[in-house]
């Protein structure tokens, strides 16, 4: 009788944890959940305090305080730097300021020593601690280090991404657009880059059960200004009043935080809101097109959900959603409100919409529709070897 193999231990060092709403937090949790099939998962949560602010009933969480951080200033400076010419280096003064604003979390090192992980996942480019303590990639006794930089969760400088990647054995990417950006930084690391292709769970039966109140309005385009409620929202963007006159003959449903409504040229009906997201899936499933008018997120979850439900998307240019839509050929993208109108009209009033919907659905099902594939990919990326094929028995 052979002794049971010891389960490997994986530690995720991240700011993306807790009860905050956000695509990056949801994606990191999804990653941890997939990894838990093959390993014991500990989370080193970087935050404002060492006290746990979020009781986690599933994972072992080690809160570590980041001292001296100033995220608001950092966000402002990054926004200012984002207006610069893309290929020019930012001023060293700005880079130094960003280093200061990131703060310092020296306790991560001791926490990781106590956990003694076989693999360390650096989720998010914001890692304000001494990564050199992980050792040199490839050296003996060092845990396998995987970086998942979340390039669109902020505006990282090239030096910040390089620092993360240089300390990693493998790099996981959240959306296809990250691949080209990472290869441009260091072409030699291309073999180490692996797509995570997050498996997004959607209610596949949502189409069978339409949302109450929607039917009398006939076909509609779905405009998302804020979802989930409490997430960032553009103060000035296209709204449900603008679209019916542009689309002519088709209604518009609008999701704006806790206010959902559907309207045509003459009538407006306030729709029921369900925080579980069931009603959202029903609304998406019956739409002719999903228009994402939110500030771009780092993952593009709703784009994937919409494509999985067979609905083409119209998404902001230069975003994670755009990367998914382009890779899938499942939607169009816009730079301004005029392009948004053009794209929606094309999808609604021509056969192109149905064709892109089909292409998007096929792509999304193949890439993001199978949870077992995702679990296997995650294990392969983080633990390496044949973990994906022969999961360790508990």
């Amino acid at each position: 009788m052979t002794a049971p193999r010891k389960r490997p231990v994986a530690a995720i060092v991240t700011r993306f944890w807790g009860d905050a709403q956000g695509e990056a937090v949801a994606a990191t949790r999804l990653l941890a959940g997939a990894l838990a099939r093959h390993a014991d998962v500990a989370v080193v949560q970087l935050g404002e305090t060492e006290r746990p602010v979020h009781i986690d009933s599933v994972f072992e969480v080690h809160p570590v305080a980041v001292r001296g951080a100033n995220p608001r200033r950092s966000a402002l400076l990054r926004a200012a730097l984002a207006g610069r010419v893309a290929k020019s280096s930012p001023p060293s003064a700005a880079a130094e300021l960003l280093r200061q604003y990131a703060g310092d979390a020296p306790d991560v090192v001791g926490t990781l020593d106590a956990i003694a992980p076989d693999a360390v996942i650096l989720a998010g480019f914001d890692q304000p601690w001494n990564l050199s303590t992980l050792g040199v990639p490839g050296s003996d006794g060092r845990p396998r280090v995987v970086a998942i930089p979340f390039l669109d969760a902020g505006r990282p400088l090239r030096s910040e991404i390089t620092r993360l990647v240089d300390h990693a054995d493998r790099v996981g990417i959240i959306h296809p657009g990250e691949h080209a950006r990472l290869v441009a930084l260091d072409p030699d690391r291309e073999p180490d880059i692996m797509p995570l292709d997050l498996a997004i769970g959607v209610n596949r039966h949502a189409y069978a059960d339409p949302l109450v109140g929607v039917a009398p309005f006939g076909e509609y385009a779905l405009l998302i200004r804020c979802f989930p409620a409490g997430s960032p929202r553009l103060a000035r963007s296209v709204n449900a009043e603008m679209l019916p006159s542009i689309l002519k003959g088709i209604s518009v449903a609008e999701v704006d935080g806790e206010t959902w409504r559907i309207c045509d040229a003459d009538n407006t009906y306030v729709l029921p809101v369900n925080p579980s997201g069931v009603n959202f899936a029903r609304l998406v499933a019956r739409a002719r097109v999903t228009i994402d008018a939110r500030p771009p997120g780092p993952v593009g979850t709703i784009t994937i959900e919409s494509m999985l439900l067979g609905v083409p998307v119209v998404v902001p240019d230069d975003s994670a959603s755009r990367a998914h839509a382009a890779a899938a050929n499942g939607g169009l993208w816009y730079r301004d409100v005029g392009e948004l109108f053009d794209a929606v009209r094309v999808l609604v009033h021509s056969p192109i919409g149905a064709k892109l919907a089909e292409q998007g659905r096929n792509y999304a099902l193949a890439k993001h529709g199978d949870i077992d594939d995702f679990v296997a990919r995650t294990a392969m990326l983080v633990l390496g070897g044949d973990r994906a094929v022969t999961p360790v028995q508990v």
């Binding site: 100033n70 001023p91 060293s92 409100v337 392009e339 053009d342 192109i352 292409q359």
Partner: protein, 158 residues
């Protein structure tokens, strides 16, 4: 839109480019106004706050806290009813004068306290915005110093 391709496998990127080329040729159907993308939006998304000291109820309080005139019943005319009202008013006011004086002082202090709280809440409410603007100013000054340094022959960035 009719000019767009309808091939078996559609390339979304080429559709977007075709749409943009139609716009570039001046064949767009809509006015193409620019809408700024999210930069500072998520930081100032709550900016539409109405100051508490502009609330109408507070202005009503300012106008009506002094009710001293309301308790003086002058009556209308010189008929018996008016004379009785004046007589009763004098008796009641005489008996209750201490209470009324106390109440008048209390009302004026309540109005002042609510006023002070409103302004204090407004100050707290806008402190973060002022801090934000201060941070922007300091960062811009730092960057300006850096630019001056570069113009004076300072080194490369990275």
């Amino acid at each position: 839109m009719d000019e767009l391709s309808h091939d078996d496998a559609l390339d979304a990127g080429s559709i977007v480019e075709q749409l943009r080329s139609l716009v570039a040729e001046g064949r767009s159907e809509y006015p193409r106004t620019w809408m700024p993308r999210a930069t500072y939006e998520d930081l100032v998304v709550d900016d539409g706050r109405k100051p508490i000291h502009l609330i109408e109820s507070l202005h009503y309080l300012h106008r009506h806290w002094d009710m001293a005139n309301s308790r003086i019943c002058k009556g209308i005319g010189w008929g018996p009813k008016a004379l009785v009202q004046r007589f009763l008013s004098r008796i009641v006011n005489g008996a209750m004068s201490h209470y009324y004086a106390e109440e008048q002082a209390f009302r004026s202090n309540v109005a002042r306290a609510i006023d002070a709280i409103a302004y204090r809440v407004d100050n707290i409410n806008y402190a973060d915005q002022r801090a934000l603007l201060g941070a922007v100013r300091e960062d811009l000054i730092d960057l300006a110093r850096h630019v001056e340094h570069r113009l004076d022959g300072g080194g490369a960035d990275r």
